[in-house]
Amino acid sequence: MAQSTDTPAADGAHPDVPGTRADDFAELDRRLVLATQSGLPLQPRPYGVIADELGVDQALVRARLAAMLADGRIRRIGAVPNHYAIGYTANGMSVWDVDDAVIDAVGARVGALDFVTHCYRRPRHLPDWPYNLFAMVHAGSREAALERVAEIATLMAAEFPGACRSSDVLFSAGILKKTGLRIGG
């Protein structure tokens, strides 16, 4: 990282910039989302390009992005790879019908496995969709993905006997769209 002056304060405070108290940031932040939601400019000074578009100082753009990272409105800034292209050809959405009484404990345990990339509790749609725990597994082959799903099943049987009544794995057969969110102007 460069010298400290090159990294804006995470709280976004900019005493030197007039008219930018916290109350004034909502509209600017919204304009920042609109300006960056389809991607950062691929230019040597990307924050400067955005700042010029918005008519503000680039230090303020960097400070607001830092503030949004700090409070979780931005999860991360960077690249999202096409997981097929980098070798993760098997993307299995494993789904489990887990006893409601223990699902939070099971979910925390499954989510902590290093090969599980996303893990959520979601509602069942009975009768044909009994599953309430979703755990995404990425691997280089379908066999490897199924081995990992089997590991999850083994772990559940050992640590939460009887809690899981049934399960399935839905493999991805192709990405149809992947743009991330788009809010309107």
């Binding site: 960056t36 990307p46 960077g78 979910g107 769209k177 969110l181």
Partner: protein, 169 residues
């Protein structure tokens, strides 16, 4: 000079969405570095390049090429819309094979559809809705049902146990 990535490749061109090439070793190192925190510095591409032994211009050219060839699907901030008053929701449709192409086109046309995957199940189309208000999810689902003539099942997140946004290249 390269234009900003979002202007060089219109979003529609990235639908479809198989990568057109395999990343080389330098691409893989770059992809891994770009899944860390992208610097909030004046010249972030130069800073990334310095860490990898690449010139700023090469970093920018490679990122553009990786986006153009769909090895990367996105490059920029990943917004957590729920922290901005909005909502995400996983949804699924059981699409009859004979209506598949029409349904893909109809569903993908909604800007609220952030991702869409085909999966091997009777519920064979799984997509994520992102809307500016929680009420927008149900409204969008109704509009997708009207556009496709098919029932949309909603799977809102009730608890998040883990989310990892990085995959080593």
């Amino acid at each position: 000079m390269s234009e900003p990535g979002r202007k060089a490749t219109p979003p529609a061109a990235r639908r479809g969405v198989a990568a057109r090439r395999a990343p080389d070793d330098t691409d893989r190192r770059l992809i891994n570095a770009l899944q860390g925190e992208f610097p909030l510095t004046e010249s972030p591409f130069a800073d990334i390049g310095a860490a990898l032994g690449l010139a700023e211009a090469e970093v920018i050219a490679r990122v553009q090429s990786l986006l153009d060839d769909r090895v990367l699907t996105r490059f920029g901030p990943m917004f957590q819309i729920e922290r901005m008053g909005g909502a995400f929701c996983l949804a699924a449709i059981a699409v009859p094979e004979a209506r598949w192409a029409q349904a893909v086109e109809a569903v993908n046309a909604f800007p609220e559809v952030a991702h869409n995957y085909r999966r091997e199940h009777a519920l064979n189309m799984w997509f994520v809705l992102a809307t500016e208000t929680p009420a927008g999810i149900a409204d969008c689902a109704r509009r997708i049902e009207a556009a496709t003539g098919l029932a949309v099942r909603l799977f809102p997140k009730e608890r998040e146990y883990f989310v990892e946004m990085r995959l080593e290249a």
